[in-house]
């Protein structure tokens, strides 16, 4: 076993250990055991950092990959298949190493932050336990080398999300939100599960490596539509977990959880798992599937951004912004900007975590006030928070010199390239929606900054009846609640903000603030060669309509590669290690070229859009040149449409949820009345038959019986005389019979 594997197993199991210790012993430990959680995560992060250092910094090889597996379930010699084993395993490549470090770092920071934010909660210890199981599951997703274990950890992540969203379970809204989140995720999961089943039914393995090897070798026996379906169904898992349209509805509601949880789970890691998963299965996505993915991503990005501009709850704005940014990543993957999407995943994780933790600090300082309309002027009271929040906001909006700029720009460039390659038309909708969303992002983030930190405090404007206090920690504080006592938060909440803000600066990722491709990240994460499409001769038909001169060159080379070498997947990466892009799939190569060409246009357009967005927000909300309320009134239908989140919740409520409940009632009625009715009806029928039978019995059969009884009675009256009760009479009778027998016997003997 490679030493990195050993280390990664330790990293994986450490949070589980934290969970086990805290769930059972938190009440017996001092400080309810929060130091256990923080300490264990610190250790895990240290080890992850070492892994990161070894893999990324020391090895610096895009094709780096170590793997290890063990037999988990042995099904023996299965008829028709042969020896069937289900293996679990760990794979470490560059992406894993980066994700590992990112997840443990954010988790560590959130643990640390929570020691301040959650202090005094009655279930304080359990909170850290839940964070532990979440981190464990998330690391499991990151490290898995097969679909089955990813699915397992996927659901476990859903569970921990369920537990953490409903952490304040006494609030009905929290209980509703946790259920909604779990169910929405489940809907996504069944799609993912079906996708897994399609692949398994063909290859009888769950392992990525073997599935890809088999696909590359053209062993997929079903039609290509099934392969596209498999890709899309697997993508459904991502739709659920990464809150893509149409399953995005759970994420904003999930803000009912404690704010650090929102930072960890619903901004940085869990929702990114969907994107991570799509990246893992990227190579088996057919072009058709990728198109669908790209459109869903673009639509999600746009829709969420439009909703975010009208929300008043500070966390909800961030939640919709998360949905929107996740849409970007999915869009990126869909258009083939693989490394850009993952780059955005990482950068977004840091600055969005920073934003959420910052908003947590604000909420904490404002005594659980979440409505931005009643905030304002906080920059003077909370300078650290203000600084870090602003930096992260700029990164999210995508201003140059930030990490977000580089990653978003790379995605948009990819989108333009993609549209160019696909031949325009409707495909230009994708980059257009992307740029428009970028502008909206800048606008609503600008609005948030202006509303929260600038101007004067508007606490007093809040209508008295609108007071709503969460069941968050410190409800005792509300008694001596003073509006002017807004303080900067303590060090253990401030430190994470600073660290995350620093990680939002361009220099961490790339020396060139305008081009992420020059940084270590983009160099280490290369688009893997697809195993479907032209590389797979079964699938050539798919690409008959998009012939390319490059295809002819690439095709034979890869075919031999794929057929003989199980590592066909990494074939392209080996080539890439030499310094040049060498895409196995010509289409990918084309898009990469086009994206490269579109790099500078993208920069210009997006910068303009962002600056325009932020300025517009300033014009509207600070200088009030345009009155926001009047504008809203002027476009009221649109405003309401956005404020009510495009009415998705209502639509789902009235169709799926009401429909299900109604159907359940109908079926239950059917069960008790029809099916049981039939059963009881049969019983009644049988009973009536029995009654009919009974009357027959009474008059016909009973008549006979009575007659018999009568004759027996008469005979009995005669015979009764013989019943003297004297033994000897009986003996005499017995002997008479014996004698009779003798006589009978002898007469027979004689004649």
């Amino acid at each position: 076993m490679h030493s990195l594997i050993q280390l990664s197993i330790v990293v994986l199991l450490l949070p589980l250990l934290s969970f086990v210790i805290l769930i059972f012993f938190n009440r017996r430990l001092p400080r309810r055991g929060d130091f256990v959680g923080v300490g264990i995560l610190g250790t895990a992060f240290a080890i992850s950092a070492y892994i990161f250092w070894t893999v990324i910094v020391q090895t610096y090889d895009p094709a780096f990959r170590v793997a290890w597996d063990f037999t988990w379930i042995d099904l023996g010699k299965v008829p028709g298949i042969g020896h069937l084993q289900i293996k679990m395993g760990i794979v470490i490549d560059n992406l894993t190493a980066i994700m590992l470090a990112m997840v443990t770092l954010i988790s560590l920071l959130v643990h640390l932050y929570s020691t301040g934010y959650m202090a005094g909660d009655k279930n304080y210890g359990r909170y850290f336990a839940f964070l532990g199981i979440f981190t464990f599951s998330m690391l499991g997703i990151v490290l898995s080398d097969n679909l089955f274990s990813i699915y397992i950890f996927w659901e476990l992540v859903g569970l921990s999300s369920y537990l953490l969203i409903g952490f304040f379970f006494e609030k009905d809204s929290a209980a509703d939100a946790q259920k909604k989140a779990f169910l929405a995720n489940r809907v996504g999961d069944i799609g993912m599960w079906l996708g897994i089943l399609i692949l398994y039914s063909q290859f009888h393995t769950f392992s990525f490596e073997q599935i890809y090897a088999n696909l590359a070798a053209g062993k997929f026996a079903m039609s290509n539509a099934w392969l596209t379906a498999a890709g899309l169904l697997l993508f459904m898992g991502c739709v659920g977990k990464s809150a893509q349209f149409p399953l995005h509805i759970w994420l904003p509601d999930a803000m009912e959880g404690p704010t650090p949880v929102s930072a960890l789970i619903h901004a940085a890691t869990m929702v990114a798992a969907g994107v991570y998963f799509v990246a893992r299965i990227f190579v088996l996505l057919t072009p058709d599937a990728l198109h669908v993915i790209a459109f869903i991503g673009a639509f999600t990005a746009f829709m969420a951004a439009t909703i975010a501009i009208t929300q008043n709850d500070i966390k909800r704005v961030l939640a919709y912004s998360t949905v929107s940014q996740l849409g970007y990543m999915v869009l990126g993957l869909g258009v083939g900007a693989y490394s850009a999407a993952l780059f955005h995943l990482v950068t977004h994780a840091f600055f969005k975590a920073c934003l959420f933790l910052g908003s947590g600090a604000i909420i904490h300082a404002m005594h659980h006030e979440q409505d931005m309309r009643w905030m304002g002027g906080l920059r003077r009271h909370m300078p650290w928070t203000f600084a870090t929040f602003t930096l992260a906001t700029l990164a999210l909006a995508g201003l140059p010199l930030t990490s977000g700029f580089m990653s978003k720009d790379a995605i948009l460039a990819g989108a333009i390239g993609f549209a160019n390659v696909e031949g325009g038309g409707i495909y230009y909708l994708i980059p257009v929606l992307g740029f428009f969303s970028a502008m909206l992002t800048a606008f609503y983030m600008g609005r948030q900054i202006w509303l929260v930190f600038f101007g004067e405090s508007r606490t007093h404007l809040k209508p008295a009846d609108n007071h709503h206090h969460g069941l968050d920690a410190h409800s005792a504080h509300d008694d001596h609640h003073d509006d002017h006592e807004v303080h900067e938060v303590s060090w253990n909440m401030r430190a994470p903000l600073v660290i995350l803000a620093v990680l939002s600066v361009f220099i961490v990722y790339s020396p060139n603030p305008l081009d992420g491709a020059e940084g270590w990240f983009m160099k280490m994460i290369k688009t893997p060669a697809t195993v479907v499409g032209p590389a797979n001769h079964n699938c050539t038909a798919l690409h008959a309509e998009t012939p390319s001169p490059l295809m002819a060159e690439a095709f034979p080379a890869v075919e031999t590669h794929g057929a003989t070498d199980a590592h066909a997947v990494t074939g392209g990466e080996h080539a890439a290690a030499t310094g040049e892009h060498a895409f196995a799939d010509p289409r990918q190569a084309e898009i990469a070229h086009a994206a490269h060409a579109a790099h500078f246009p993208a920069i210009y357009i997006s910068s303009i859009m962002v600056v325009f967005g932020i300025s517009l927000a300033g014009i509207v909300f600070v200088f009030r040149i345009i009155d926001p309320d009047k504008t809203a009134e002027a476009i009221r239908p649109l405003y309401l449409f956005s404020l009510n989140k495009w009415y998705w919740d209502e639509i789902y409520q009235s169709t799926f949820i009401k429909g299900s409940v109604l159907l359940s009632k109908i079926l239950s009625w059917f069960d008790t009345n029809v099916i049981d009715g039939i059963v009881n009806g049969v019983a009644v029928l049988v009973r009536n038959l029995a009654f009919a039978n009974n009357s027959f019995d009474k008059y016909v059969v009973d008549g006979l019986v009575n007659f018999t009884a009568f004759s027996v009675n008469t005979t009995g009256a005669v015979l009764r005389k013989l019943q003297t009760g004297k033994v000897q009479t009986y003996v005499a009778l017995l002997l008479v019979v014996l004698f009779g027998y003798f006589v009978f016997y002898f007469t027979r003997l004689i004649y």
Partner: protein, 105 residues
């Protein structure tokens, strides 16, 4: 007369038939329970004679053994029967079994 001279199986059987018939008659007709018991003993003796006779003329020992057991069981039967008779006497103040007819109704 040639029937009578060499003593054969039939002689014994005849005797046993007489004993059986007398025994049955006693059982059937006598009112005194003790005499009824005597009749039973006669029947048992008749059976024993048959056992031994067949045993002798068949060369087997089974009949002998069986008669031995019959004697033992007869002894047991006599003891129990007499005990019952004494009980009947206690209850009905009589050993007249024709008065013991509570089974009638």
């Amino acid at each position: 007369m040639q029937h009578l001279i060499p003593i054969g199986l039939n002689h014994y059987l005849t005797i046993s038939a007489f004993l059986l018939a007398f025994g049955l008659f006693a059982v059937m007709t006598r009112k005194n329970a003790i005499v009824v018991l005597m009749g039973v003993e006669l029947i048992l003796n008749a059976a024993n004679i048959n056992f031994l006779a067949f045993s002798k003329y068949n060369g087997g020992i089974g009949g002998v053994m069986f008669s031995l057991f019959v004697i033992v069981i007869a002894a047991a039967e006599a003891a129990i029967a007499l005990a019952i008779v004494i009980n009947i006497f206690k209850i009905f103040k009589s050993v007249d079994i024709s008065s013991v007819d509570t089974m009638k109704e």
